[in-house]
Symmetry: C2
Subunit: 137 residues, 2 copies
């Protein structure tokens, strides 16, 4: 590791500190739609409409908003083909690909462990219910 050109926070970024800029991008990444969008784009570029159908439940507003945010932060590219009707493709940048794997891992963990989580949740809720309502006998 030689010298780098940008040392603003080199080696000093700490997301535990509220004022650290890394919190800004962590906020963007720590978002349900960001996780799913980056995961969907990891395999290659997709058109807006395809993305919207893939991310079941997302509204047009949220998808646009999420994509703009990711584009602004250099994680996603936006390519407009001036056809009629317009056609817009979104793809992952190299920077984006460097993080999409991490986000996909979280998504996959969720899919693999949801049953265990649901069991824990049910057990917790039942325990809580017994404590407030020890009446029955």
């Amino acid at each position: 590791m030689g010298t780098t050109s940008d040392l603003r926070f080199f080696g000093g970024a700490d997301a535990y500190l509220a004022a650290c800029p890394s919190r800004q991008i962590l906020d963007v990444l720590a978002n349900k739609w960001t996780m799913l969008v980056m995961g969907a784009l990891a395999d290659g570029p997709l058109r807006f409409g395809v993305l919207r159908r893939k991310l079941d439940g997302i509204t047009q507003k949220m998808l646009t908003q999420t994509l703009r945010s990711l584009e602004r932060d250099g994680l996603v590219t936006r390519t407009v083909y001036p056809t009629i009707p317009p056609r817009v493709e979104y793809g992952s940048t190299e920077l984006g690909r460097s993080v999409s794997g991490l986000l996909a891992a979280v998504k996959e963990w969720s899919e693999h462990h949801i049953d265990t989580v649901l069991d824990a949740r049910a057990a917790y809720d039942e325990r809580a219910a017994q404590e407030v309502e020890p009446v029955t006998a």
Copy 2:
């Protein structure tokens, strides 16, 4: 891989589907405070007050709320020592440890790439500014 006892969604969980339960835990994980809390607990148990000071900027309310949610989902343990004043320790469960590494990776990515992101953001904003205000000459 033999048979498992819980097949509710075995092999079928898909976070892209709005109705898939995995979305529920993804929502919990895809949260700034969850990322930081799980990261902080990855190295070992911590007391409430220590956690609060470590996670700069978190309010007592948000910390309690986040910890309760993680405890409910089986990612975090809560141990109360009935001393005076009370002492409560939070630690990662085995399930929690299986995901905290993934979350820590996202946090670390943020710390390592924040400068690049900030540059991209500045460039994007400048471009946007020029487009609306081509006046100056």
